[in-house]
Amino acid sequence: MQSEPSDVLNEFRQGSVAAFETLFRLHQRAVYGWILRIVRNPATTEDLTVETFWRIYRAHARFQPSHGFEAWARRIATNAALDWLKRARPETELDAEIPTRTAADPAISAELRAKTAQAFQRLPPKLRIAAILSVVEERPGKEIAEALGISVSAVKLRVFRALRSLRKDLQQQGITP
């Protein structure tokens, strides 16, 4: 995310729509990318980006310029994504049109990948977010902890619980990873 002049942050705190627009244009791409990594669906991500900035604008009076905009926006974006994951049905398909470069391992069949993705969708949303940001996106633990409002050790615990539950789900389907 890019940095912004402190007067823009102060004006935003006072409720200036012009300052809000400046911050929106500076950070919308980063917020969009962060949410896309969690929900993995471009159309939903666009809606959630607007929802995130709506929440940001509504909370302008609580914003503390000394703490910076970036981490605050990321935390609100994570909460918006978490709320969506809680509402969405576990059967919701992940979008295959997101930009990825990871080559498929021929030793892992397409069926196994699909079953793993489906099992992952059945995990509690809080575990899914921690696991996807940590294991799939390989984001730093501190960044994930700040976005979720928990400690780094709590992130590690959630990731471990997610992986253990995923393994158990797959084993119940007769799949031994």
Partner: protein
């Protein structure tokens, strides 16, 4: 689950859900949608919220009970 199992399940998850690469951006400028949202719902909170009404009701009950102590038993009965 040992470390080897953990590595295997991580690898499987990375294959099932490939990492989002690069710096993705929305297909359209979202500011227009943002403006619609801002105009649709004013951000100013209402002057009288449900929470303040709850407190006002509680204060009225306390005042009533203080003015008419005999009513306390009736109030407890209603609760």
């Amino acid at each position: 689950m040992n470390a080897n199992d953990e590595d295997k399940i991580k690898q499987l998850l990375q294959q099932a859900l490939p990492r989002v690469e690069g710096d993705p951006e929305p297909d359209r400028d979202l500011w227009a949608a943002m403006l619609r949202r801002l105009h649709a719902r004013p951000a100013t909170p209402p002057l009288i919220s449900w929470a303040s009404l709850d407190w006002a009701l509680l204060a009225a009950l306390v005042l009533f009970a203080a003015a008419f102590p005999a009513s306390i038993s009736v109030l407890f009965y209603c609760l």
